[in-house]
Symmetry: C2
């Protein structure tokens, strides 16, 4: 694999649905535990949050997969829960247990106490990491900033961590929608200023991760998740492209495309071709290989990459990615197979004509 | 609520999309831990598997929600994992841990050892429960039989229990598809003869639970899950209506409708109206209230029931249900509110304009 063949603007051109010689590729959680160099830097930091909060180390792990694979985009190493943490909820990230908040949000009084963090002081470590990383990339690879969606952050804030059934969070949506809307409102404002600050610090595109939008009904998704993401996209109009990703949200692509986002992330349950037929005249599409395929034999990885490319079909507007984050047990060689396959096969599948 | 207003054929008429005076209603896991009378019978049995394997007790818990709410269908109390258990995998069901198999299926040799259980000997306790329950219902309420889908059973068999990422099961699909197909083939045959035996014993409709179809890509769903369900629907042609339910399968309703199933189950992420527009001229639709709504205030339950009914719109072909099983923490009063709301509101929403 030749890192030399990186084209600096491939990713941004594909987001704008402009012609590209091949399909750009990056993968969610590309800076992660499957990489031995990541594990070494993580060990040096001591724990995950220290790694996030030390700009030089966050920069280092952001660059590692770029060096190894020559991905067409870097995504700043951070966590979606930095925002509620900066709002005073007290984040704990213990491996194997998942994220926990010391002070979850359960009542109107809890919500009333929340303010919008100042990204340049309360979340300065993220802005520093973006600045350092953008400089280190030296214009060879574009840098993506990101945040959690208001609903996803609210669900963690209300549940006090991860959840299987989201009973407390849905309990607030259905039992006290006024309080839920106030919480989502302050989170949307916090995410908006946070992303604007990342853009000011050097992020060339931003992604909204709506990890838990897919647990809602269509009506609840529109009212409690999409509405607030649409407001953020509006706030960012005229800055950089926004990628909107609702895991499990394949039923709602038309609604998502109406937000004005430049691109939609797709998980692997959605057919790329069907998604393109529905919304591809309005947005670029990012995705969507099942991360589990990275555990299969090399020939299968290559064939399945080809299947995603073929499903998208000819023309531009595709950013190759997984349908969700890469898992820690993947062999780094499998990722090289994926990247090589996208580089080799995409000019065949995505050629115009 | 008046159990007296039960119409014996409401459910079967709605499955055939024939006119009904109101929408029939039952709920997945209606015989379950949210009911104090269930907990008492369960305590009497000692454990879940003994409850399944004692026809008189399985009959009793099947009837309990019918007595309390006058649901329009009863579903035989059992478990989808009875089939792989009868194939010799050694099922353990410990509360709080989830199902486990002593002897998971990991290789071609493991698959080669599997045979199709004789439902009238190996699974006789299920057939006895169906017979006893059908007789006890006395023609007032139709009885539903059920089974897990071949893919869902395969995923439990391969993983050796539940899973978050289905790595072992997907590992077989992608790494050794020939073995996966042999496993799915024997499971499809086992499910087919199992459901035929339930029908012979008195089941008046059957439901296929594809709990884990939604973790697959579109191509993998078609090849490894839907194809085998379609074969079962074919095998059952001319017997009783089949309800096919893939949780998280809302993207694939058109493909599901082509199997010849009488009805499709929908989870709550799908808009009932949008689903009807896509396939409602070919199948009935069953669902799809978010079970979390049963934890909300009564007025919200009533409003959300109305929203589902309104979304379906005028005419027949709707069986009201939850989008997934009821959870143990629901107050039984909330279920009464749901049932009353369906009875009162459905004649308004579903009238033929």
């Amino acid at each position: 694999m030749a890192a030399a063949e990186t084209f600096p603007d491939l990713f941004l051109r594909a987001l704008r649905r402009e012609p590209v010689p091949r399909t750009p590729v990056w993968i969610m959680r590309q800076a992660g535990r499957y990489l031995p160099e990541y594990r070494a830097t993580r060990a040096q930091a001591g724990d995950f949050l220290t790694l996030c909060r030390t700009p030089e180390l966050a920069c280092e792990v952001t660059l590692q997969p770029i060096r190894r694979y020559g991905f067409d985009a870097a995504i700043i190493f951070s966590d979606i829960l930095t925002v509620p943490d900066a709002m005073g909820l007290g984040l704990k990230l213990d491996e194997g247990i998942g994220p926990r908040f010391d002070r979850p949000i359960r009542s109107a009084a809890d919500v009333a106490r929340l303010g919008v963090p100042d990204p340049n002081s309360d979340l300065r470590y993220v802005m520093d990491a973006v600045r350092v990383t953008r400089a280190a990339l030296g214009g060879t690879t574009p840098l993506i900033g990101f945040a959690g969606s208001p609903w996803t952050l609210a669900s963690y804030a209300i549940e006090g961590g991860g959840s299987r059934d989201f009973k407390l969070a849905k309990g607030m949506l259905y039992g006290d929608p006024a309080t839920a809307h106030r919480l989502l409102d302050v989170l949307a404002e916090a995410v908006s200023v946070y992303l604007k600050a990342q853009i000011a610090a050097g992020a060339q595109a931003v992604m909204l991760f709506d990890t838990w939008g897919g647990v809602l009904s269509t009506a609840a998704y529109a009212e409690f998740s999409l509405r607030y993401m649409a407001r953020i996209v509006d706030d960012l109009a005229g800055t950089v492209p926004v990628i909107l990703f609702t895991k499990g949200g394949g039923a709602w692509l038309e609604m998502q495309a109406e937000t004005g986002a430049a691109a939609l992330g797709l998980d692997w349950t959605v057919s790329m071709g069907a998604a393109r037929a529905r919304v591809g005249d309005r947005v670029a599409l990012q995705g969507n290989l099942d991360p589990a395929i990275l555990l299969a034999p090399e020939a299968v990885i290559r064939a399945e990459v080809g299947r995603v490319l073929e499903s998208f079909g000819p023309g531009t507007g595709h950013v190759f990615n997984l349908g969700h984050g890469i898992t820690p047990d993947v062999d780094p060689t499998a990722v090289a197979v994926l990247v090589d396959a996208v580089r080799e096969l995409s000019p065949l599948h995505h050629r115009t004509a």
